[in-house]
Symmetry: C2
Subunit: 415 residues, 2 copies
């Protein structure tokens, strides 16, 4: 199956598939230096019908499950002999979990609450990886009672907790990476040096656990396929060192997530990253290839999601009247915490555009989503009450929303 | 009534009032260079009894209403001829709102939801200031229907909305300040130049509204009393200019909030700030003194709140083994978003302490609360399962909590 790929278009050409008689939404903010995203054309009819009909409160996130399915199948095709564990922190909507479970996707969870969400969606406990290296003893006990078999750790005291509270389980040790190339590196808090992994996995086997594998994470929205090189090599060395000490229980190499999605800038296709992973695994593991796990979060639902929002106020900057402030009913504390990510933005206005600063509606002055440096250009006709669409917002939005100032949590639904 | 003030103590002397037979909590992290906070001694018996008895889930915030009341009375005493509007975004717990309402406190709200919380707590609509300059037309309409009479604005299009949807109401124009001296400046997003305020307040009166006053905000946790000087002078000039144009409706000078509270560092007493405000008002308004509004948020419940939390994991840093990572069951996404604020931290361990990095339990690698630079020192005996107390966490915690990774929102109760 070919990998679905968005097609880059000149910035002055709106995506026609996203325009209908009732609601004309034109993508703006398409600075050529940043590139721009495009609506997934094959499913946009359902989306545009939804948007045209939607008259509920905003902000509201809608996620197209057919796009999620297409992404899952693309990943499965690109890396067929792997178990793909969806990192549900990205977006744990029940309908999304049900669809992925139906497709045969596995799950990566970071809490008992997330484990219960997956079980409620039909997942089996054996298909869940408890991937958070930070677990209370009570949480390990609860997962063990539910039948969860696989636990990640990266510290001595965490291993001790698993030995005590999840006897006989499989453990995966998370090693550090340097995180370079990622928009959001993940090794600031997590991971241990490979030599520690060796010691601790030996201890695991001698303490009644099963030393099951090595994991790492190259960072979220990772744009450099070569970033998988060093950690796969380091993991292979741990496997080999354990083999030399007679350990034959190591089965799994968890290469994490980080697969990027398209925002205003188009990223390389998923095959680029999966081919690189397969190449490094073959290179360093040779004939002893382990089972590969992945932990995609962002990649699966990100570009399937669209937030419908309303313009609350437009006002010229008092320091530079050429720049307008555009205040939306969603901001940093309503779910748009990933302010390093530049979402494509659509409005229904045609006509001249100009530079804006985008901000949220709360009383927190840090609630600025995009400063001038992001070079968003929005139509000069934009006015309070207008609807805007923030595209490719399917992940890390509902899970980061607060109720600051009493504004409700970001609502969402799947179509 | 004298202003209650915490007493600074040598950092090696634990606050004895916070120790009882069942639970010994010793304040740590008391780097002399930073100073340290102390438990409010007159009410700590109720708190220590609560903490000793508490066996529910953590993290959990407990707020002592008697401390809130003491703070309110101190503010009222320090600035008696003012209307004090509690900025409920700081902590909207129903019991807290009820207590403040009973004491005669007014309220500052930023959304319809906050307005409804105040009404539910017994406040009257006329005692509520709709202080957010960012309001949808539908929200202004809803507030007007509830009887809210006072609206803040800082932009032309916002004034237009109020003219249309809240006819006859009183409007207060928010002007900018430079925010210097504040831990969290608030004029990045908010406020307009005073000359705009003049134009717009004239327009308000000629459009059926009542030009009611000027507001500003010197920034949250404002440590410099002199920061009220320039905006009070600027406001007086607007009042005077309007008077010269025959406008006699201006009654209110809203000097905002920003009054600081004690964290690890002891701040000047509330009288310092209120005396400065009274001084600048007398200096610039002379015999035409307006009614003063304040908008305290942090000052009222901050030091009344204590978060009970659990240590999830302790692990040495792999780059500097002298430093330990201490992971708690609350972090940046559980409510501790104000990582510039250094809360006093208590544990029940005596003995040697050492430098730590404190972080939360979520899978987000940005979920680090205090890096090494904050110089927190915690006991070397600290271990997973131990309870810690984050003191003076009564504000900007529940309202900033998310459910990232499925972890529940920060729970809270008042005693």
């Amino acid at each position: 199956m070919p990998v679905p790929q968005t097609v880059s278009k000149p910035s002055d050409t709106p995506d026609k598939s996203f325009i209908d008689a009732k609601t004309v939404f034109k993508q703006t903010g398409t600075n050529p230096a940043l590139g721009h995203g495009t609506i997934q054309t094959s499913t946009s009819r359902a989306l545009q019908n939804f948007i045209a009909a939607y008259d509920g409160p905003t902000p509201h996130l809608v996620v197209e499950l057919d796009v999620v399915e297409r992404n899952y199948k693309a990943l499965k095709t690109a890396l067929p002999r792997a178990n793909h564990h969806y990192a549900i922190k990205a977006n744990p909507h029940p309908d999304l979990l049900k669809r992925l479970n139906k497709l045969g996707c596995y799950f990566e969870c970071a809490s008992i609450q997330e484990i219960d969400m997956c079980l409620a969606a039909g997942a089996q406990a054996k298909d869940i990886l408890y991937g958070n290296p930070l677990k209370k003893a009570s949480e390990i006990k609860a997962a063990y009672q539910r039948g969860v078999e696989q636990y990640v750790f990266d510290a001595a005291l965490e291993l001790d907790k698993i030995i005590t509270h999840a006897p006989g389980s499989k453990v995966i040790c998370r090693i550090t990476t340097d995180g370079s190339g990622a928009v959001s590196p993940l090794s600031i808090k997590f991971g241990c040096p490979p030599e520690k992994a060796l010691d601790w996995l030996l201890k695991a086997n001698s303490s009644g656990l099963i030393a099951h594998g090595i994991s790492f994470h190259t960072g979220s929205q990772q744009l450099n396929p070569a970033s998988w090189n060093a950690p796969i090599r380091a993991a292979a060395e741990v496997f080999e060192a354990l083999r030399k000490q007679g350990v034959d229980t190591m089965k799994v190499l968890d290469v994490g997530g980080g697969f990027p999605t398209n925002y205003r800038k188009t990223v390389p296709p998923i095959t680029t990253f999966c081919d690189a992973i397969a190449h490094y695994v073959a290179k360093y593991f040779k004939t002893n290839a382990p089972l590969i796990y992945t932990e995609p979060g962002r990649y699966l639902p990100a570009d399937a999601g669209f937030i419908l929002a309303e313009v609350v106020l437009v006002a010229p900057s008092h320091t530079n009247p050429d720049i307008r402030w555009v205040y939306l009913d969603i901001g940093r504390y309503g779910g748009l915490v990933e302010t390093q990510i530049d979402y494509p933005v659509y409005t229904h206005h045609e006509g001249e555009v100009g530079p804006v600063i985008m901000a949220g509606q709360t009383c927190d002055s840090n609630d600025v989503i995009y400063a001038e440096e992001f070079r968003y250009h929005l139509p000069k006709a934009l006015t309070p009450g207008d609807r805007v669409i923030l595209a490719h917002t399917g992940v890390y939005t509902t899970t980061y929303s607060t109720t600051l100032n009493g504004f409700p949590n970001l609502t969402s639904q799947c179509i």
